[in-house]
Amino acid sequence: MKRIYLDHAATTPVDPAVVEVMVSSLKDNFGNPSSVYAEGRTAKKSIDAARAQVAKAINADPREIFFTASGSEADNWAIKGIAMKNQAKGNHIITTKIEHHAILHTCQYLEKHGFEVTYLPVDKDGLISLEDLRNAIRKETILVSIMFANNEIGTIEPIREIGKIVKEKGIVFHTDAVQALGNIPIDVKDLNVDLLSVSAHKIYGPKGIGALYIRKGLPIDNLIHGGGQERKKRAGTENTPEIVAFGKAAELATEHLETNINHMKTLRDQLIKGVTERIPKVRLNGHPQKRLPGNANFCFEYIEGESILLSLDIIGIAGSSGSACTSGSLDPSHVLLAIGLPAGMAHGSLRLTIGKSTTPEDIDYVVDNLVGIIQRLRAMSPIDAD
């Protein structure tokens, strides 16, 4: 059965060109990059090239890019590294209610260890208010962490404006740009950010490799202590094949950014139009305009997300749901709750995220089938549709 993959926000297939550089590094470039002999030097060189590619994707200096094993590690490092470094200055952190768990759970952990955290609310479209941000800043505030774009509902936050406010107060500003990379132009020089997290597997690179941008000169504690790798900031023998692969993926993402964005936007709008026109009682979650080019997130009244997902999976369509029923938690999505959906609705979301190889026919197929699936599930629902 042909499968249609519409969960690019969860992870992306690895680009064949990326697989190629990765495999060749895996086979022929196994030296320890910290070693002085030939094998080590070759590895070191390929890492430097990849660092430059990733730097270019966000307009940073290569010396500001530090490879990590994931977006989650980059997030943990940014939050804990700044918190621990600035403990003497203050103990207050500002973030939002709609961050990825890598940020939220890290903040909650710090709350157990003497830090105070303000979780900014968002409006019904998922945007934070700059006014709220200004009011939340205290003299003990040492860090503001606000995501670039939300992974569930796709809303894009006003990062430049946030950066300006935070910078004026002399506070460190981190943004989780894991969903933004490859989907929105990113220019760290323009954005007033001090720290920015990215992850390769969202841009057709492999899983298990990410990076933290650290503005030159910013003091931050290490998260992983040990050897002198990554200019003494992140220990562990360098993951050469994945670093090289991330570099290639970043290069491709930069090169094709505009084409990809236009492609995704067209299909996303086709999908949103099809679903909202042909299915009644559906709600589009997230900001109508300020949203990721590939993200569509719907709530279908009276039915539950997991049932939709499974129905789609059976006919070959991979999507995802705010309801984390099967992934170990029964809580409704914290993001959907934050935009004001009642808990009932927050269980019923469907997220479809488009990628560079999605076709208009894929979208037609999905819409056609979704109409029937929703009808069938609603017919079974005890909740009255009137």
């Binding site: 002085v36 030097r41 070191k44």
Partner: protein, 154 residues
């Protein structure tokens, strides 16, 4: 850094010039770097009339760039007068090698220091220094500090 060392450095490492010892030298000195524990010795023969360095040899207990800078410093100094040789800087030595890795800058400082010390030793032995400065611990420390930290931040 594609390789820690460029081809010039490697060439001087593989085929160091002027290695060895001069018996009964006109001047000699040994310097060590507290930064890394490496050592280098240098031996001089000087023409009493012209004050030109006519022969020079070095020995190294050190890293590859210690050997290479020892080699280049002897090449740079040979044929120069002692006054000219004193003016050779670690930067010139490093440049003559086409550059050294940052962390290896002190190796060229060490080479320059040993050359200057050997010249000083020659001058002392030949009565060219009238008021000999007593080498106090402070002076040694001051000298070593430079060796450790030529361009800041080793």
């Amino acid at each position: 850094m594609p390789s820690p060392y460029n081809d010039i450095v490697l060439e001087h490492f593989k085929n160091p010039r002027n290695t060895g010892r001069i018996e009964n030298p006109d001047g000699k000195a040994t310097e060590g770097s507290p930064a890394c524990g490496d050592m280098v010795s240098l031996y001089l023969m000087v023409d009493p009339e012209t004050k030109i360095i006519t022969d020079i040899k070095f020995e190294s207990y050190g890293c590859a760039s210690n050997i290479a800078t020892g080699s280049i410093i002897t090449e740079l100094a040979k044929g120069k007068t002692i006054e000219e040789a004193k003016k050779i800087t670690w930067k010139e030595a490093s440049d003559a090698l086409g550059g050294l890795p940052k962390i290896k800058a002190h190796c060229s400082v060490l080479a320059v220091e040993v050359l200057r010390s050997a010249i000083l030793n020659y001058e002392e032995k030949h009565g060219l220094i009238t008021s000999k400065e007593v080498t106090t611990e402070e002076i040694v420390r001051k000298r070593l500090k430079k060796v450790m930290n030529p361009i800041k931040g080793l």
